[in-house]
Amino acid sequence: MSDTLTATAPVATARTDAPMLQVRGVKTFYGNIMALRGVDVNVYKGEIVTLIGSNGAGKSTLMMTIFGQPRPREGTITFEGRDITNVPTHEIAHLKIAQSPEGRRIFPRMSVFENLQMGAAVDGFAHFDADLEKVFVLFPRLKERINQRGGTLSGGEQQMLAIGRALMSRPRLLMLDEPSLGLAPLVVRQIFDAIRELNRTEGLTVFLVEQNAFHALKLAHRGYVLVNGAITLSGEGRELLERPEVRAAYLEGGAH
């Protein structure tokens, strides 16, 4: 952790308020294998924070651990001051943390409309129509596909649906797991633009897990680099982008 750049990251130092999401010394095991070796992550209100790392670094594990599947063996996770380390997954969702999980996990045999309805389950249906309209403004493609089954959408549309479904719950924290996975560059840009837009206009807090380090670090206010289950670097997004280690490992195909 000697490489940590937090001292030079103005966003992090300027904040004196408590972080919205605080991950403290989290260790997660799969059987005897330690997948997370004591991870510390802070996400403040109104920020876009990204977690980058290569395959198998434990990015998705951290994401799922925050959501309670699997549970950490050590460490604590707090959200808005409340300890959620041992709260059941569906109750975590009720605290207005929304997740677009890895592999999108939309409901393939249900229509786009039904998928979005499922997203609103947490919030009740009081603001349903207004929220639906907001999602359609963000992703007009979904409106065209409203009666189509989720499984018949293209990859990009499915990703839009997964994010739209997460937004239907009016989240205070949106967690996205590799939204760019397997998508064409143009679609990736559309989706990242949408995330930026949400953050700017509504102040939505976003925690983004990405392998696509270049796009993610450009978008994010702050970033963390996860290697073998431990955070090795952290700092401002653009600053991390300039770091030779990051460039070498994630942006230039690992070649020096």
């Binding site: 997954t89 109750e91 969702a93 045999r109 409309f113 499922m118 009666n147 189509q148 089954r149």
Partner: protein, 477 residues
């Protein structure tokens, strides 16, 4: 390019067909001869106490002939190399016909079901003569109801349940045990008169059968919460067997394999169907007929089945029904959207089991006798087959499948005409299950998603794309 394709297309049209087709059919016929020769050609018979062989060359010739000519016909038509591959990707004729008739099918079927006893009486020329048809109607409706009940668990919530018969048994034994219970009878005899419990038992026990079965559904649900797919199927299968074995072995309580007999019959809301002065016939000024009770039972099971369908359709529009469907699709996504998968699963098991319990209670009152033999795995398999053949999740499909399966099974009992083809020593009832099996395989090849797979074709239809939001809510997206 155009010239080339024309040239290559021209010889294709005159491909030799007859020669290869004949050769292929001949090979198939020879294989059939080799296979059927020992199986059908010989028959062991007992001559004067010793085992002897009889030969059946004509039957063998017929079987081989069917294979040969059938194969030849297929080679010349469907498998012909000259047959243009179907380029039609849009809705087929049947899909379009289905879409056009779609709105009319349900009311028409409902009207038929309501009028069925009248139709049966008129077509058979009398109340007593129509007994067979109305009994068949009751049997079909019982399976329609069981199919709809299981459909909640398998079709909607996606939990493969191979032990559904357990809940049917719980419902049947609830009624049988409570209705024949001497203490309860004495208790009510002291309050309301000697025949009170016998006359009202069914109407009191019907809701209780549903509640008990629902509770048993939850009891089964708890241990299997973490299981899915094959593992769940095995545990539910075991659960069904456990219930049956308990019923057999707990002799003090259930009277074991001998079963419980002389269960009180159904009454017209307290008025018994008998020839006495207080009976149904006397009170309504009708000549007494035992058929009154049968027709009444028909309408009871029709009402119960419609209740099942109605509740299912309503639940599907409510959040809990939507949650069941989402659970079928993706459990992890469900949880991260804030759905409590534990209660969702348990509610699906309990609701499905409850309707199984209602049907079981009805079964007991119709038969007047229950024994563990009525609740074997065969029944579970049959109900599951109805749900799968009907197209998982489709209400109308399940109803059609139940009618086809149960009606078809009955129809196959009357295969007398086959004797005219195969000779007098041919016993068609022996082939009933074989033909039935063939029919099921054929349906699954021809319509792999079940007879009515309404949720599928709609998405290809241009005209259905502009479907309104209400329709989508009903789960027809």
């Amino acid at each position: 390019m155009a010239v080339q394709t024309a040239e290559t297309a021209a010889p294709a049209a005159t491909n030799p067909v007859l020669g290869p087709a004949f050769k292929d059919a001949l090979i198939a016929g020879l294989i059939a001869l080799g296979l059927f020769g020992p199986l059908i050609g010989f028959e062991t018979i007992i001559i004067d106490g010793a085992l002897g062989l009889a030969y059946r060359p004509s039957l063998l010739a017929i079987m081989v002939g069917i294979i040969f000519f059938g194969r030849l016909l297929l080679n010349l038509t469907i498998w012909s190399p000259n047959r243009k591959p179907s380029t039609h990707t849009g809705p087929t004729f049947f899909d379009r016909a289905g879409t056009r008739m779609g709105p009319g099918v349900k009311p028409a079927l409902l009207a038929f079901a309501v009028l069925f006893p009248a139709i049966a009486v008129f077509s058979q020329g009398g109340l007593n003569e129509s007994r067979y048809l109305i009994d068949l109607g009751i049997l079909i409706l019982t399976y329609v109801m069981l199919g709809w009940g299981l459909n909640i668990v398998v079709g909607l919530a996606g939990l493969l349940d191979l032990g559904y018969v357990a809940f049917y048994a719980v419902g049947a034994y609830t009624y049988a045990l409570l209705a024949t219970s001497a203490p309860i009878n004495d208790f009510f005899a002291g309050l309301f008169g000697a025949t009170f419990w016998a006359n009202w038992a069914f109407w009191f026990c019907l809701p209780m059968a549903g509640i008990f079965a629902g509770v048993w559904g939850m009891i089964l649900g708890f241990p299997v919460l973490r299981l899915r797919g094959d593992y769940l199927a095995i545990v539910t299968l075991a659960f069904g067997e456990i219930i049956r074995l308990v019923l057999i072995n707990w002799v003090d309580f259930t009277n074991g394999g001998a079963g419980i007999a002389s269960i009180p019959r159904a009454t017209f809301f307290g008025i018994p169907f008998n020839a006495g002065p207080d009976g149904f016939a006397a009170l309504f000024g009708l000549p007494f007929s035992p058929m009154h009770r049968i027709v009444f039972l028909y309408f009871v099971i029709l009402a119960l089945a419609l209740l099942t369908a109605f509740v299912t359709v309503r639940l599907r529009r409510l959040p809990v029904g939507r949650a069941w469907e989402a659970l079928r699709e993706d459990e992890i996504a469900c949880r991260s959207l804030g759905i409590n998968t534990t209660t969702t699963k348990l509610s699906a098991f309990a609701t499905g089991a409850m309707f199984g319990g209602f049907a079981g209670c009805f079964f007991a009152v119709r038969a007047g006798f229950v024994s563990p033999e009525s609740f074997t795995f065969d029944v579970s398999a049959m109900i599951l087959a109805i749900v799968v053949l009907g197209g998982m999740g489709s209400q109308i499909g399940v109803a059609v499948a139940a009618a086809v399966m149960m009606g078809g099974m009955e129809m196959l009992r009357n295969l007398g005409f086959l004797r005219q083809i195969f000779g007098n020593d041919f016993d068609p009832s022996l082939y009933r299950m074989l033909i039935f099996g063939f029919a099921m395989v054929a349906i699954m090849i021809w319509k792999p998603r079940g007879l009515v797979s309404t949720r599928d074709p709609t998405i290809f239809l241009k005209e259905r794309k502009a479907v309104s939001g209400d329709l989508v809510k009903e789960g027809h997206g």
